[in-house]
């Protein structure tokens, strides 16, 4: 397969990783073969590219390790994999709760790079107030962020959701590439991105600033918190 990353961009990313990566990061990628019920006409064409981009990114730094599980139902269960492909970013402040469903391409490639740096440093760029509010959540939260790779406002929502998850292991945050999962997009009435669904009940469209995003999360957990 032809390389997806241009040589010049590899150089940019290498500089970034050399400067900013601290502790090891593991990229855990789940794939399944043609014929599985999770591989459809919508996502099958992306699986090979997703594996390739994960491979190319992990080869840029020896602090990044790529593990690929193919048709491994047991591991999928352990990680709580919902869709294929699933790419988990594992490190100091994440444990099976920061995930990309579908390819992190286009504008979302920046989300992947930022996640790797945050996880490697074991920290996030959220404000101190947001960090504290996120850490104080005591019930499970699931945040789904539907995106398309051509949407420039979408990485903001993905990065915020993923960083909230890095602050609190009870929060699971997933990017969902809407083109690859039309059934799921239909289920949640996604007609505009970014669309965020929190614990199945709170939904909103558009990129919200961090504090307003957090308020939506808090309103979703509100009742169960008390």
């Amino acid at each position: 397969m032809e390389k997806l990353l241009k040589e010049q961009d590899v150089q940019y990313i290498k500089e970034l990783f050399d400067r900013d990566l601290v502790d090891p990061v593991e990229l855990v990628l789940f794939l399944e073969s043609e014929g599985s019920d999770k591989v459809t006409a919508a996502n099958s064409q992306y699986l090979q590219h997703t594996e390739e981009i994960a491979k190319e990114v992990s080869e840029i730094s020896d602090k990044i390790k790529l593990t690929v599980y193919k048709d491994d139902k047991e591991k999928e269960k352990e990680y709580g994999v919902k869709e294929i492909s699933a790419l988990f970013i594992q490190g100091k402040n994440s444990d099976r709760n920061v995930v990309f469903y579908g390819i992190p391409s286009g504008h979302e490639f920046s989300s992947l790079l930022e996640d790797i740096v945050n996880v490697s440093q074991g920290t996030t760029r959220l404000s101190p107030a947001s960090k504290e509010a996120a850490r104080n959540i005591k019930v499970p939260v699931e945040i789904l962020v539907f995106i398309t790779p051509t949407c420039p406002h979408c990485p903001g929502a993905v990065k915020t959701a993923h960083q909230l998850a890095m602050e609190n292991k009870l929060i699971k945050a997933a990017m969902i590439e809407a083109n690859e999962f039309p059934e799921l997009s239909k289920k949640y009435n996604v007609y505009s991105v970014p669309k965020v669904v929190i614990n199945e009940k709170v939904q909103f469209e558009g990129a919200l600033p961090e504090d307003m995003f957090l308020n939506k999360v808090l309103s979703a957990v509100g009742e169960s918190q008390e």
Binding site: Y12, E15, H107, L113, T148, C151, P152, N189, Y191
Partner: protein, 326 residues
């Protein structure tokens, strides 16, 4: 497959030193702000760009730009903006993702306060906050926003595969969006309040030749119909007052822009529509504050004019700094 993987430069710049005194603080990383950043960086100014969402501004959602010189085959908005970012960062300009909450004056200096109460002390400010799309003027806008009403064809077109959609507007953006939508939608109806399009001739020729595109002339939207999701758009003929319903699942609006000037309301002079008043040096009514691109009272809102504004404003700001320090 239209994937692209390019490394964002935003992450690889020099660290921002807290409590620094900035020569120039630029609000917004669209083509105007980034051009000012390139010029300021090359002049050796200590310059920072603050951006609330992601660099690019409105142009980042443009599929194809055919009127920016130097790109004979056209270029996507995203790629053009990424190139500008890389160029600005190359000359030492910092770009950070923070939303500006407040601007205040402190002696000869300005203080720009962002989310999280971070403060930037600066000698000059360039406002390049751009503009947002005008909301569809129907009573049901809020109810159906994101449920069939969209303002970003590049982001959302794929959700209307095989469906019928309407696009409201007749300018370059509306026509470019209509053409993009034909790649997914079954039928695209352009609803325009006049009998002819405002878009440039080249785009008009393309749109009239496209068999998937229909027109409703002299028409304005009056209501959006549907239960949970958009099921139709009621339009009114402005001449005959006749009303009819288009059966569509998607409505894209491209009917002009509103300036993002809230942050300077009450500080600099605005025109009656909220655009920032500037002179030929791109100075606002407050010395030391400049405005560029879509947010100012300009006769033409394009990438090239925003970029030109950025260069002029940076030049004026440099002169202002020299006078200030004399």
């Amino acid at each position: 497959m239209d994937e692209f993987f390019t490394a964002p430069v935003v992450e690889k710049q020099a660290a921002v030193i807290p409590d620094a005194l900035w020569d120039m603080t630029i609000l917004g990383a669209g083509p105007g702000g980034l051009t000012a950043g390139i010029y300021a960086g090359r002049s050796g100014l200590n310059v920072i760009i603050l951006e609330k969402l992601s660099p690019g501004g409105q142009i980042a959602v443009s599929e194809q730009i055919d009127n920016y010189p130097g790109f004979p085959d056209g270029i996507s908005g995203t790629e053009l903006v990424e190139r500008m970012e890389k160029q600005a960062v190359r000359f030492g300009t910092r770009i950070v993702m923070e939303e500006v909450m407040r601007i205040s004056k402190e002696g000869k200096l300005f203080v720009v306060t962002t989310t999280g109460n971070k403060k930037y002390r600066t000698k000059t400010i360039i406002i390049s906050t751009g503009a947002d799309p005008v909301k569809l003027p129907v009573p049901e806008e809020e109810k159906f926003r994101g449920k069939g009403i969209s303002y970003c064809a590049t982001c959302d077109a794929a959700f209307f595969r095989g469906k019928d959609v309407a696009i409201v507007g007749g300018g370059d953006t509306a026509i470019t969006d209509a053409l993009h939508l034909t790649r997914f939608a079954n039928k695209v109806t352009i609803v325009h309040r006049r009998r002819e399009l405002r878009a440039v001739k080249a785009l008009q020729e393309e749109v009239f030749a496209n068999p998937k595109i229909m027109f409703q002339w002299d028409s304005i939207p009056s209501h959006v119909i549907g239960d949970e999701m958009v099921e139709g758009l009621e339009i009114e003929n402005v001449k005959t007052r006749e009303k009819k319903v288009l059966k569509v699942n998607g409505i894209f609006a491209a009917i002009g822009t509103v300036p993002n000037s809230k942050i300077v309301r009450g500080i600099v002079e605005l025109d009656e529509r909220g655009f920032i008043k500037t002179n030929h040096n791109r100075e606002t009514s407050v010395p030391g504050i400049f405005a560029v691109g879509d947010v100012r009272d300009t006769p033409l809102r394009q990438v090239i004019t925003a970029a030109g504004d950025g260069a002029i404003a940076e030049f004026s700001a440099e002169n202002y700094i020299k006078l200030m320090e004399r």
